[in-house]
Amino acid sequence: MTHAPATHGSTAREPGTRGAPAARTTGTRASGTPDRHVAVVDLGYGDAGKGTVVAHLCDRAYRSAGRPVRAVVRFNGGAQAAHNVVADDGRHHTFAQFGAGTFTPGVATHLSRFMLVDPLALAAEADHLAAVGVPDALDRLTVDGDALLTTPYHAAANRARERARGSARHGSCGMGVGETAAFALAHPDLAPRASDARRPRVLRRKLAAVRDALTADVGDLGAPGVDAVADVFAAFASAVRVVDGAHLHALVREGPVVLEGAQGVLLDEWHGFHPYTTWSTTTFANADALLAEAGAEPAARLGVVRTYTPRHGPGPLVSEDAHLAAALPDAHNGTGEWQGAFRAGHFDAVAHRYAVEVCGGVDAVALTHTDAPGRFPLRVCRAYEVDGERTTALPADTPGDLDARARLTGRLLRAASELGPVVDSAAWPETVAQALGAAVTLLSSGPRTGDMTGQVVLPSGNN
């Protein structure tokens, strides 16, 4: 449920031009501690387990006392992310805006300028973290002043629109993330940003503009007044350090940092299956951009997949198998009021390979839920059959051409999956490595941070 698909409106926007995926060699090096920056991205529709992977990287670096992770940097999405982490002592938290490494002492969180920050949800999340023994999460948080702020007006408009769609819902989380992005595109000068929270007059003016524009669009929002929202945003800016771009440069210099992606590559705004996408660049592109601006080496690129392929809400899931979802209930992923049912299918090698390609390649793969094959016979979807044709690869050549994406989505919704034989538990890492063309270097078998086996083998020196 880490995704909040919302359709792209008609807003004209130049698609990102990220070119063809670079061929990446995959060097590996046995090492207990990452000494490079690592970017973690979900190669599916979200829910693969980025949270546990990030938590593990931070925990491991801390324990091995080599170079602890300096910070977790969030580079896309907003408060709708839901990265579940269960600490080894059983404490559970669903990380939404705080980095999933926050249980590890001293790991800071930085919300980069690509983030959509929800100050209200942030307070509630900080309270929960305090309740599970992390009282200083807010002290360790910094927010880029350019990050967009999600207001109660965006959330209210989001819900009003989703309700009006009736049965044609997109599966939004109802938190206004898509609305925040859309409003900023349409009204760049009126969209509130984190730095505005320190300028009372500017903030009020922008909040009123958001409220008025969205009320005109969808009718009465039933949201709190501008004064109340301005007060709490100002309190947010006093409680949290709002910084400029130089702060990230300092973090990166002091590093290493873990760059934590939200949602999944298959939901990417330009490469995903339109219209079931999120208003967010879910590939490594933002992480690459942030490191490049800081003058740093590119991060090691870690893709995350499950031994099966889950998704929330409507949209293509070619290898879906209702028995699978029933046999492998997800403790932390139930049916959401706004985003719909949690669905599951067999490991969709076609879709995950496509994800690897459109995000420019990965250096290594983290494979989660390696205990699932012991509980249900899991297979690999090797090909699709669409309109009488067999295909093993999806076209990755039209990023941003939303019409072409939508036509592809239509085909995927009609596609049947061709499943291979049941894969033995022990054979899963090798099977996934072959399917995706990258080494599987991290395995997780349960919800806890410590439920990971295998060395953290991160590539080095291949840039």
Partner: protein
């Protein structure tokens, strides 16, 4: 809450943030500035030193080994926006002291220093608190922003109050002095004037008390430090620094980054308590998310202190990424 859809209720969030930031720091000051003529300004009743008897730092069942820590800052005009920043930063002090175990049971008192020759409210002193009530006291400090142009403020009046009107269990029961930090940018007057003491505190003194005498008396109770922060008028002023060094020796700290004031105080206490050495303390700052520039500021401010030499090195540099872009002297919130 497993859904990750954390509450987006505006009222809950306001309460949550305000509980953390010691609420909107300057409510009282703001009201005074906006709704009361200057001639009628007065200290909030909780902070008025007149006739209060004593401020007490006491042991309790919950806090059996209390340690008195007091922070008094100059609120005159020459401090520019420094008091406002201090009001937002100081609530973190308590947590910093506790989090790393520098002190088991700190009791913190906040106060504000003005100029008795021309200010309406030359002295404000709160109570020693071991919980969030200290935030309330910070919030009720009136930022008068007055003072004169004579490079002197009534620090000596504050020193007198702290020497004669506080009682500390750490001292009385365990022979351990408390800590007093004065944050300011000017010098004290040469003597505690009996007329001002009568007016502001209500004591009848037969005669003035020399500044050195009151400092000596005060140092029996407190380890006294003076911090000269960046952003004030006389930063780096050798006359001001020299005067305080005559009075306090090595306990004079120049700080080039006001955002690091809590960290500097916490580490000073940690060092003095021998709970840490400087490197450890700087490591702790990183643990709680301070960036290099902040850690550098604290390090520069405290290196000499930690080595026991007289005075401390200071440099002036802006704080990349952490500078407030609000207009100087404006009260945020």
């Amino acid at each position: 809450m497993g859904s990750g859809n954390w509450s987006t209720n505006v009222y809950d969030a306001a309460q949550s943030y305000n509980a953390r930031t010691g609420r909107s720091a300057f409510d009282y000051s703001h009201k005074a500035h906006t709704s009361v003529p200057r001639a009628q300004w007065k200290a909030h009743a909780d902070l008025d030193p007149f006739g209060v008897g004593t401020r007490e730092s006491r042991d309790s069942d919950e806090h059996p080994t209390s340690l008195a820590i007091s922070v008094l800052f100059d609120v005159t005009g020459s401090m520019r926006s420094v008091p406002v920043t201090l009001q937002t930063k100081l609530p973190e002090l308590f947590g910093l002291l506790l989090r790393k175990g520098y002190v088991d049971h700190p009791q913190i008192l906040f106060g504000a220093i003005g100029d008795a020759t021309c200010d309406r409210v030359p002295l404000q002193v709160g109570q020693f608190e071991s919980d969030n009530r200290m935030d309330d006291q910070l919030g009720t400090i009136l930022l008068e922003g007055g003072g004169g142009g004579q490079k002197r403020e009534s620090y000596e009046l504050a020193l007198y109050f702290m020497a004669r009107h506080t009682e500390l269990d750490c001292l009385d029961k365990r022979g351990k002095r408390g800590y007093l930090f004065i944050i300011g940018d000017e010098m004290p007057y040469g003597a505690v004037k009996h007329r001002e003491v009568r007016q502001v505190i209500g004591d009848e003194l037969g005669e003035d008390i020399g500044i050195r005498d009151i400092v000596t008396e005060l140092q029996r109770k407190y380890e006294v430090h003076y911090i000269l922060p960046a952003g004030s008028s006389y930063v780096g002023d050798t006359e001001v620094l020299g005067r305080w060094r005559e009075l306090l020796g090595q306990n004079v700290i120049e700080l080039d980054d006001l955002d690091a004031v809590c960290e500097t105080i916490a580490l000073t206490v940690g060092l003095a308590e021998e709970a840490i050495d400087l490197d450890e303390g700087l490591g702790h700052l990183k643990d709680v998310g301070a960036v290099d520039s902040q850690v550098g500021s604290v390090s520069r401010a405290l290196t000499a202190y930690a080595q026991g030499r007289s005075g401390a090195l200071a440099t002036t540099q802006s704080l990349p990424g952490l500078d407030d872009d609000g207009a100087p002297g404006t009260t945020r919130l």
